[in-house]
Symmetry: C2
Subunit: 113 residues, 2 copies
């Protein structure tokens, strides 16, 4: 039996060593170094945030907003650094989701039985 805290620290090191994590780190640096990408990414995050807030409040987005969001998404995905960031974020969120599912399995089993 290994110490659970040692294992958790090993998992933290494994996560840092993932190509997706390295890519995410690089993408952050690349975006920061590129004024145009940085501005575009901030604009995209702000628009996404406001869009999601409205959805959470149960408001139907207006057609112009949907179109603006689509145009911005298209523009953003043309930028290599932002695209890299979004792809690596998605990969990492899948890994984190898997980790949580695996680790909490013993408790799930117990509470479902």
């Amino acid at each position: 039996m290994s110490n659970i805290y040692d294992t958790a620290n090993q998992l933290e090191r494994d996560l840092r060593a993932l190509p997706a994590f390295q890519n995410l780190k690089e993408a952050f640096v690349e975006i920061k170094a590129d004024e145009e990408a940085s501005r575009l990414f901030d604009e995209f995050k702000a628009a996404m945030h406001s869009f999601q807030m409205k959805q959470m409040a149960g408001q139907q987005p207006e057609q112009t907003e949907v179109e603006q969001m689509q145009a911005l998404s298209a523009k953003v995905s043309e930028n290599a650094a932002i695209k890299k960031l979004m792809e690596s974020e998605q990969q990492l969120s899948q890994v984190i989701e898997d980790m949580n599912r695996i680790i909490t399995k013993p408790l799930q089993e117990l509470y479902q039985s």
Copy 2:
């Protein structure tokens, strides 16, 4: 470098091997086998749930409800099996919280910088 999924599976085994997890498992079995404890525990969970729902809805609990809840809590903590369950749940939730903090540290660092 180890495989992150192997490490997660090791963490799952480490969690199962924790005394707190073993105690939680035993407590579930003990409560199920004891009709009085089982009834008391169901009553406690239902009261706690309704109490928390009201708090979430911003309602001030009535004095009688607070007193009922306190009486029920006292009664529940006199039952050895339920006490064992609640203590081991609390220990495990601390461990799970620690695990999450350790594992998500690389991402926290990245997004805070």
